[in-house]
């Protein structure tokens, strides 16, 4: 029976219902909680920033009439074939294995429809993903599942994955019920095992090695492909500088709100730093090296709206990446599936058991009956619609700030609503010129 508040009953702030339920679950099951999605706790985020629209000292651009460009070129530092995107939003790496084959195809279709890139994941490149992705980034992960030079050459860019925002310092995880015959074959693993991916690369261990590794990847691909380095946000300033010095064309910084298909809840909620300070630290690192904009910065972790995109760009990112939001756009957590979510002990809007392989939306599953429900054409089109909205919203905000390209947004266009956000993003608290930790008179 559901507990109910009545007058006189006082809930502990410390031992709230979630804390009590987790203690009871741990005592019952004797194993940590593994789930999908990203951090669910309240964190300083882009909601804590506001944009300053144009006024007397700055004039805006006419909505729908005056141009506000959104194109992005990634990888021009060393690659002979940089990639060109029409919008500053890309699809983050998500594996075939974590996601169904139709879901991966839908991601490619949606991204291609609006002229942006999608990314493989821990498990290799599927033919349908390559076929339906106009621009595809191929991840080189510690596990090297499915890694092969033929796919490396087919890719449009290569992303060396050092870490992921949901679990910096942790490896991948794919539980046995999602290791289907096809997934097992692609990963050279026995069917049905609980697969733990390595957290360290097998053939390099530090920044000096990384530079040599990137050199090898460039040699294998004849210096054509842009090379990204992706880090989970932790010691972001140093990680970005080391990755740039190692020769990266593009840096991807994934804040702790970034999603995951399967990770321990304690890891998701307690390791890493939020996306907001991570952007600032990454831009600081690039500016100190004199390479801001020459080395592009992609930021991910909790991007939901054009407002999030515009604020990330204003802080200095060249593009953002989405994962969780893309899955929601394709049908995850849809109210139409409420009855089935309830049967799984969850509810639409709360469902995060992406590790379990029973996803009624057919996205985070390898069950044929379930994944057959997902029409990759329809799901891809829904994703494309959502990406268009993100882009239109970003343009709307950029025009209001008088910018003819979304990259012209700048920190000067931002203020913060909270002291924490002001300190982390290093923009003034609204109504003051005070940036905590930097100085100011008020």
């Amino acid at each position: 029976m559901q507990a109910e508040w009545r007058p006189g009953l006082r809930e502990s702030y410390l031992f709230d219902r979630n804390a009590i339920a987790e203690i009871q679950r741990a005592a019952r099951e004797g194993i940590y909680d593994i789930r999908g999605f990203g951090a669910k706790r309240r964190l300083p985020h882009f909601d804590d920033l506001l944009l300053l629209g144009a006024s007397i000292s700055r004039y805006p651009l006419e909505g729908y009439r005056e141009r506000c460009d959104t194109d992005v070129v990634l990888g021009g530092r060393f690659a002979s074939k940089p990639i060109e995107l029409k919008i500053p939003v890309t699809i983050a790496g998500m594996s075939f294995g974590a996601l169904s084959a139709p879901a991966k195809e839908a991601l490619g279709r949606g991204a291609s429809e609006v002229g942006t890139a999608t990314t493989t994941g821990d498990g290799g490149m599927t033919p349908e993903e390559r076929q339906h992705s106009q621009t595809l980034v191929y991840q080189l992960l510690p596990s090297r599942y499915g890694m092969n030079p033929d796919d490396l050459r087919k890719a449009d860019a290569i992303e060396v994955v050092v870490g992921q925002g949901a679990k910096p310092g942790g490896g991948g995880m794919l539980l046995g019920h999602k290791i289907s015959d096809r997934v097992a074959a692609m990963r050279d693993l026995p069917q049905g095992i609980d697969q733990r991916s390595a957290c360290r690369h097998p053939d390099w261990t530090g920044p000096d090695d990384l530079e040599i590794k990137i050199g090898e990847l460039r040699e294998i691909t004849d210096w054509e492909k842009p090379i990204f380095v992706k880090v989970g946000a932790t010691r972001t300033f140093y990680d970005v500088q080391l990755a740039v010095k190692a020769g990266a064309d593009v840096i991807v910084v994934d804040g702790m709100q970034g999603g995951t298909a399967a990770t321990q809840d304690v890891f998701i909620e307690h390791v890493g730093i939020p996306t907001l300070p991570a952007v600032r630290l990454a831009v600081d690192a690039l500016e100190e090296l004199g390479l801001h904009r020459e080395v592009q910065l992609i930021v991910s972790g909790g991007i939901r709206s054009g407002a999030d995109v515009a604020k990330a760009l204003a802080l200095g990112a060249d593009a953002v990446s989405i994962g969780t939001a893309a899955l929601i756009a394709m049908g995850d957590n849809s109210p139409e599936l409420e009855e089935e979510y309830r049967e799984l002990g969850s509810s639409a809007g709360f469902y995060d058991d992406w590790q379990a392989g029973r996803d009624p939306a057919g996205i985070s599953t390898q069950d044929e009956e379930l994944f057959s429900r997902l029409d990759p054409v329809i799901a891809g089109h829904r994703l494309a619609n959502y990406l268009r909205v993100l882009n239109l919203e970003t343009q709307t905000l950029a025009r209001a700030c008088g910018k003819s390209h979304v990259h012209n947004l700048e920190p000067e266009d931002l203020v913060a609503l909270t002291i924490e956000a002001a300190a982390m993003a290093r923009v003034p608290l609204a109504g003051t010129d005070w940036i905590p930790g930097v100085g100011g008179s008020r």
Partner: protein, 239 residues
């Protein structure tokens, strides 16, 4: 240079003392897909250069006259690469097919995540030999360092000498054969019976490696106990 028929006899000699590595690798890559060109190559003066002869994808023979740095023959397909010297980290990493032979010793992570092909080391291999291997066959005449075969998924590692600590830690279906002492086994790695099929496998690999003075029956076999394949809290102490 236009496409021309593969030459079976002529040896193309390239000198890394005077030719940039990029140019050498590009010429070797241009042979992919049956494009034609010299089938036999000699690379002089590698002097520890990294990424020598990586990304090859043609049935050619490449003789490297000296020591090489990291990632020599990385991601090799089809080619036979012979290093007349020693090799640094990540030799033949992620190799798919072909053969890589090193006359000297190799540094750590030799054959890392390699999916196929044959890797032969005449000297010793340092730590993490065969880490994350996915089908490659590796034969080491000397000894291997700690954590060799770490998370090895499939394929075969034959060690004629000794193995360091934590051999085969967290391995899956790869087979490990060691003739000498094993300093210690890693999590879920156990000694297993050497049956006729395994003896045949070791014999075959020793023969292909050219080590015909080593008795296949003198090896011991190690593999996965498969007790950690599915997470169970009773095994928490092993994780």
């Amino acid at each position: 240079m236009g496409a021309r028929a593969v030459s079976e006899t002529a040896v193309e000699v390239v000198d890394l003392a005077t030719t940039p590595l990029r140019e050498v690798n590009q010429r070797l890559h241009d042979l992919a897909g049956g494009a034609g060109g010299p089938a036999r190559w000699r690379v002089l003066n590698p002097r520890g250069a990294h990424a020598v002869a990586c990304g090859l994808d043609a049935e050619i023979e490449v003789e490297i006259e000296g020591h090489v740095g990291y990632y020599c023959a990385g991601m090799n397909q089809l080619a036979s690469v012979h290093v007349h010297g020693s090799a640094s980290t990540g030799l033949a990493e992620n190799m798919m097919s072909g053969t890589v032979v090193v006359e000297g010793s190799v540094s750590q992570s030799a054959g890392a995540s390699a999916h196929g092909g044959l890797l032969v080391v005449h000297g010793d291999a340092a730590a993490r030999c065969g880490i994350s291997m996915k089908g490659v066959e590796i034969v080491v005449r000397g000894s291997v360092g700690h954590l060799s075969g770490f998370m090895a998924q499939s394929g075969c590692l034959v060690v004629c000498g000794d193995a360091g600590e934590a051999l085969g830690d967290s391995l899956y279906e790869a087979r490990m054969y060691v003739r000498g002492d094993v300093a210690g086994l890693g999590a879920d790695c156990v000694e297993k019976e050497l049956r006729a099929e395994h003896l045949a496998q070791v014999s075959d690999l020793l023969e292909r490696a050219g080590f015909d003075d080593v008795d296949p029956a003198s090896f011991r076999r190690y593999g996965s106990a498969r007790s950690l394949y599915n997470f169970h809290v009773d095994n928490a102490g092993a994780y």
